[in-house]
């Protein structure tokens, strides 16, 4: 009967209860949609970033990330590649040898990053072939270069022109070679677009006198949410001689930006929830004032303060829970809609996005924990507010309460 009483009590002033529930629902809808959109945007950003070049995870010889040279390269990586590829969350990988070199054409010389790649692997991992703006994609046996658009412009070379490469090979050997430009690619990220040269791995190893060595194994994963778990498991599988780095560890500035933006979100939502909390508190005050006589009467006839306060707390929590539940239910189709129909930018905004190699879209991402998290936040607020009726009941004197 107490449950019945609680249920009927929350509906005794139907309009007020509905308004309170609506405000809670509105806050949850706004919070869930904003968070889903923000997570979607970041997810999209990360996907774009890792699909440019880095992959979600990279495996190197220990120390390579701090000192990126050929002395920190891996010899005979086939077994290692198999070990990594066998992890259930790994969807693709690409072995590379990376070093800095000088590229010259005519009287122009530029420092650049040379990457020896397995073209078929890169095609799957980073979609390098799709970024070609002129020429044809590399094959494993080619002895030719794929040059980024910005670098080609600096060196004033086009398809069929020859570049002279000069650098330091493995163990101090001089590396020198001449290669024709087979294709030109465009990267959205300026730092890549103005510095990248690609050679097939075998030819790069020949050029650098590294034998079968590689410096980097870039890895893609199926479930991005399991990034840290996958990284941890790979570390265990391949041992301490190698380093396994996630994109967050390789690009801490991006991770920092995402974290900072998340803080901004919580500040905004915090203000929203504060307003909702005041609204709920106002409702509670009104309800307690209206029912003061009744509460005194209930105590007079023998209802314990503990039971009475539990009833009032339960009423507050139930109103909040129903509001939050309604908010979550309303948010569900909204988030799903924007997941499949992202907000799409046009005009200058779209051009700016494309310039940096990003799709000009803001997709939402459906993560069930976001719904649970926001519901729990409003429930926690309600629990804090419920202390007020709790204290009121414990202070209540039935004689004072029933005075008119």
């Amino acid at each position: 009967m107490i449950t019945k009483l609680i249920w009927r009590n929350i509906w005794r002033n139907r309009r007020r209860t509905l308004i309170t529930m609506s405000s809670v629902a509105f806050a949850v809808v706004l919070a869930v949609c904003m968070k889903s959109l923000q997570d979607g945007v970041f997810d999209n950003l990360v996907k774009s970033l890792v699909s440019y070049y880095s992959g979600y995870i990279q495996v190197h010889k220990r120390g390579y990330n701090d000192e990126q040279n050929l002395e920190h390269s891996l010899d005979g990586p086939d077994t290692l590649l198999n070990t990594i590829a066998n992890h259930p969350n790994v969807s693709g990988l690409a072995a590379r040898i990376e070093t800095y070199t000088l590229a010259a054409a005519g009287s122009v010389t530029q420092g650049c990053m040379l990457a020896g790649i397995v073209p078929s692997q890169e095609k799957l991992l980073t979609g390098l072939d799709s970024k070609i703006i002129s020429g044809t994609y590399l094959r494993e046996s080619d002895k030719a270069l794929l040059v980024s658009e910005g670098l080609a412009a600096k060196l004033r070379v086009g398809l069929g022109d020859t570049l002279v490469l000069l650098g330091q090979g493995f163990r101090g050997n001089t590396a020198a070679g001449m290669y024709p430009v087979q294709s030109i690619v465009h990267f959205g990220a300026p730092v890549l677009n103005e510095s990248m040269l690609f050679l097939p791995l075998k030819e790069a190893q020949e050029f650098l006198s590294t034998g079968n060595r590689v410096t980097t194994i870039a890895v893609n994963i199926r479930d991005a949410a399991a990034l840290n778990v996958t990284s941890h498991e790979l570390k265990k599988r391949i041992g301490p001689e190698l380093e396994v780095l996630t994109w967050k560890e390789m690009m801490p500035e991006i991770e920092g930006h995402i974290r900072a933006d998340a803080v901004n979100f919580y500040l905004f939502i915090g203000v929203l929830y504060l307003l909702i909390a005041f609204g709920m508190f106002g409702t509670l005050l009104m309800m307690l004032t209206e029912r003061k006589f009744e509460l005194g009467m209930l105590m007079a006839i023998g209802m314990r303060k503990r039971v009475l306060s539990t009833m009032l707390v339960a009423e507050t929590l139930l109103i909040t829970f129903l509001g939050a539940l309604a908010g979550a239910v309303i948010s569900f189709p909204v988030v799903k809609y924007f997941e499949y129909n992202p907000i799409r930018f046009t005009g200058d905004m779209a051009a700016a996005y494309r310039q940096f190699g990003f799709d000009p879209v803001w997709p939402a991402i459906f993560v069930p924990s976001v719904f649970v998290e926001q519901t729990l936040i409003v429930m926690a607020i309600a629990a804090v507010i419920s202390f007020y009726p709790l204290v009121t009941v414990y202070k209540l004197n039935p004689v004072e309460a029933m005075k008119r």
Partner: protein, 229 residues
Amino acid sequence: MEPIIDAHNLVKVYNEKGIPVYAVNGVHLHIEKGEFVALVGPSGSGKTTVLNMIGGLDKPGKGYVRIAGVNISEMSADKLIQFRLRNIGFVFQSYNLIPVLTAKENIEFVMLLQKQKAEEREKRALELLAQVGISDKADMRPSELSGGQQQRVAVARALASKPRFVLADEPTANLDSVSASNLLDIMEKLNREEEVTFIFSTHDQRVIDRAHRVITLQDGKVVSDTKRT
């Protein structure tokens, strides 16, 4: 035989802006089981304060109240709630009932607090509704009942816990003469047939005329105590 209520030298002082006001000043009362008592007096005479102290809703500044030999003036607030639940029935002037429960549920509610079984609760609630003559209103909420009917439900609820006595604070104050008379008929009948002890405060002459014992208060003191046969 020990009286059901033994109030000894009750004093209650309120401080109004630093000036002591004696709401009750040295009241002695002995009420036996089965009495039908009216506490009368003008407004401010101390009727409600005495009733509150007898009912364990308020504590005396001096003196004590013993209910069936138990001194309730020294009980903690929590123990008093439990004591009231098991020993005292209350009928207030108005807004007596829980508005969201039906008449039957209002009566059952007290028994629920006493942790009685659902079947027992329902059976007794229906019996009590029959006793106060509103069986047909069992499933109606207070807002659907007249003032007189609501007070009858309140009397039934007061009796639900099988209390030692029922305290009624101006139970007819908001009732028309017919409803007041009907309510008094029921209370008298319960007193006569079931030996239910009623103590009610009133300044309604129609009620005073029906009381078997009239205790008159003035300025917080008992000025007369008359028994009628």
